[in-house]
């Protein structure tokens, strides 16, 4: 495959931004510098990056409380993300959403939902709206393996298949539903097996390989855009951290993290592009360093940004204050 240099660097930039962002969020949470819960996306960068870079500007995504990666991959400005984590007015929701609920309508980021399957029917509805209006926009709804047991998953797939909603269900199977292992809870054996009865086209992919994710996404998105049919992508991955920052993770086998880290999406990318000489280590290091600085600057800027005035508590609840 011929890979364009700028495209490769774009993938690398997003993955390194996400990784540096999540490392910093983790450190800051441990130091008690952040408000609320933080759900770390480290280990899953290839999925958000591989899929979202295949979307058009007018497409939509929904995410969950683990939404930092999706937001950053969708190019929500880093300062808008750090502002939100620190609860400042510069946050993407003006400090009213918090880490779990990034929303950016201009970028088609419908939002991070605190309920695991919450975004799925909403994505289906957006896709249905597009279809009914004769537009070829698609919606991607990201969720974890734990979400497939909620009714909304099954209801959304039924709706999408029945009404021809061009929505791509992306399950990031990171082996844990909160702290419960997929071996225990995923009674169907896989998530793609659960799509079959609904007539939803489903593919499983190595979620640690951004190229594999991207190529699968390209096909599924084009298919949804052209036919209006829904699809499901199950990306096999691993959550390096806990369900949330502070999770003791005693439920993970000791060797498991190391095994998955050996397949790290950033390391994999580095090998895949340097071995054939597509990019040099120097190219990659330069971008990675820039990402580190951007993230550091964004956290520093957020720390200096103003807190919301308490009066914002009463705004935007209804159209007009009655």
């Amino acid at each position: 495959m011929i890979e364009d240099r700028d495209t490769l660097l774009g993938l690398w930039q997003r993955m390194t931004r996400i990784r540096r962002f999540e490392e910093r969020a983790s450190t800051d949470k441990e130091a008690d510098l952040l408000e609320g819960y933080i759900h770390n996306y480290s280990g899953q960068e290839a999925i958000a990056t591989g899929i979202i870079t295949q979307l058009r500007a007018d497409d939509w995504i929904t995410s969950t409380y683990r939404n930092h990666g999706h937001s950053i991959a969708r190019d929500v400005p880093l300062e808008a993300m750090t502002g939100e984590l620190l609860g400042r007015t510069t946050g993407v929701c003006g400090g009213k959403g918090g880490s779990m609920h990034a929303v950016d309508q201009d970028l088609g980021m419908i939002g991070g939902m605190g309920i695991v399957a919450g975004g799925m029917p909403i994505a289906a509805g957006a896709a249905l709206a597009a279809r009914r209006r004769g537009q070829d926009r698609v919606a991607v709804t990201f969720f974890g393996d734990g979400a497939v047991h909620q009714g909304a998953f099954h209801e959304s797939m039924t709706f999408a298949a029945l009404f021809n909603c061009p929505v791509i269900f992306v399950c990031e199977n990171n082996l844990y539903a909160e702290t419960t292992a997929v071996d225990y809870h995923l009674i169907a054996g896989s998530v793609i097996a659960m799509a079959e009865p609904y007539g939803v086209h489903a593919t499983q992919v190595d979620g640690m390989d951004v190229f594999a994710v991207r190529d699968a996404a390209e096909q599924l998105i084009a298919r949804a855009r052209y036919t209006g049919r829904p699809a499901l992508l199950e990306a096999m991955t691993y959550r390096y951290g806990g369900q949330y920052e502070g999770d003791t993770q005693t439920y993970k086998p000791p060797q498991e993290v190391a095994q998955w880290r050996a397949r790290d999406p950033l390391l994999t990318f580095r090998r895949r592009v340097t071995e054939p000489g597509l990019l040099t280590h120097g190219d990659l290091d330069e971008v990675a360093e820039r990402s580190r600085v951007e993230v550091a600057d964004a956290f520093a800027a957020a720390a200096l940004a103003p807190w919301p005035d308490p009066s914002v508590l009463l705004t935007d609840v209804y159209t007009e204050i009655s």
């Binding site: 209006r133 209801e155 039924t158 709706f159 935007d316």
Partner: protein
């Protein structure tokens, strides 16, 4: 001419869909059948399957899909066939429909109407006779509406559909066949305005939805006792018209709240609290509440003992007067 509540609601949907092609109606059996109560009668025939369509029996999917469509240009009206069927959609309504505007700093508007035929009186037992309005009155970001007359059924539904905020619209199903002389289209008072249905001096009955009619019957019966009851129709629980409520209590000095929902922690508690806070020195007696007992909704042969009726309301008036 005489119209029923069902006709008024059906006409409101027809008129709203004719006026604005972004209004769509979907839910369980609303298309081909026209709804189990025929409130969506002939919508599909007139506007096509694209505008009025049947869905799977999946309430969370119905409301979630409505949210997504509302974000991108539509004004969905969805039906929850029966009150108890709203519970599977609770998560989408409370966690997403109600909160998106706030979370997005007002960039997301969700003009969604969730129509809910609610309440008892038709022998339909639990899940089909419930009064869940107060669950939603408790949620910031939702408007909660319940018409008690056919005119209000028409006007409040039209206002709900044109509202930029999500509305939970509670239709008193036992009053679908209630008649009133009115010409459609009709515009009544807007959201946030309670209406004095019958002026009186002895005590005030506060009600909404199905109990408005029951309170009017009670006021007629009370004339035999020499009592001149005032009946206030609250119409919209949120926004709540405390000014009209307080004004009435200042006049009569006695307040009795009537609803089908169980009394404990029901909407009557909110009315009582507002009256206590704003009209305490005008009260001649404690605010009383008449409602369902604190039990699951009973079986058909027992519901007449559960639902507030003229006798129970008159008994409350007597207790208030003898305080």
């Amino acid at each position: 001419m005489a119209i029923t509540m069902a006709q008024a609601l059906n006409t409101a949907l027809h008129d709203a869909m004719a006026e604005d092609d972004k209004v769509v109606m979907f839910g369980e059996d609303v298309g081909i059948l026209g709804g189990v109560f025929r409130i969506t009668d002939k919508l599909q025939e007139r506007f096509g399957e694209g505008r009025c369509f049947d869905t799977p029996l999946a309430e969370s999917g119905i409301v979630g899909t409505a949210i997504g469509m509302a974000m991108y240009g539509y004004k969905p009206v969805v039906e929850m066939q029966f009150d108890g069927f709203t519970y599977p959609a609770f998560e989408q309504i409370v966690s997403h429909l109600a909160k998106m505007r706030n979370r997005s700093r007002g960039t997301v508007q969700l003009p969604v109407v969730v129509r809910i035929p609610f309440g008892g009186g038709i022998g339909a037992v639990e899940h089909h006779s419930e009064s869940p309005e107060n669950y939603f009155a408790h949620v910031a970001g939702l408007k909660v509406v319940s018409p008690g007359t056919p005119s209000d059924g028409y006007s409040l539904l039209r206002e709900s559909i044109s509202s930029a905020d999500p509305v939970l619209f509670f239709e008193p199903k036992r009053r679908y066949w209630l008649k009133e002389d009115a010409d459609l289209p009709v515009r009544t008072e807007p959201f946030g305005r309670a209406v004095v249905r019958r002026a009186g001096t002895t005590a005030t009955l506060f009600a909404y939805g199905p109990m408005v009619r029951t309170c009017m019957e009670t006021a007629s019966a009370a004339e035999d006792e020499g009592w001149d009851l005032e009946v206030v129709d609250l119409r919209t629980l949120n926004p709540f018209d405390s000014a009209t409520v307080v004004e009435s209590v200042k006049k009569t000095g006695r307040a009795i709240v009537v609803h089908e929902a169980q009394v404990f922690s029901g909407f009557g508690a909110e009315v009582a609290a507002q009256v206590a806070e704003r009209a305490f020195y005008h009260l001649e007696a404690p605010v009383l509440r008449v409602g369902g007992f604190d039990i699951p909704y009973p079986a058909a042969k027992l519901e007449e003992f559960f639902l507030p009726d003229v006798d129970r309301i008159l008994d409350a008036v007597q207790r208030s007067l003898s305080f």
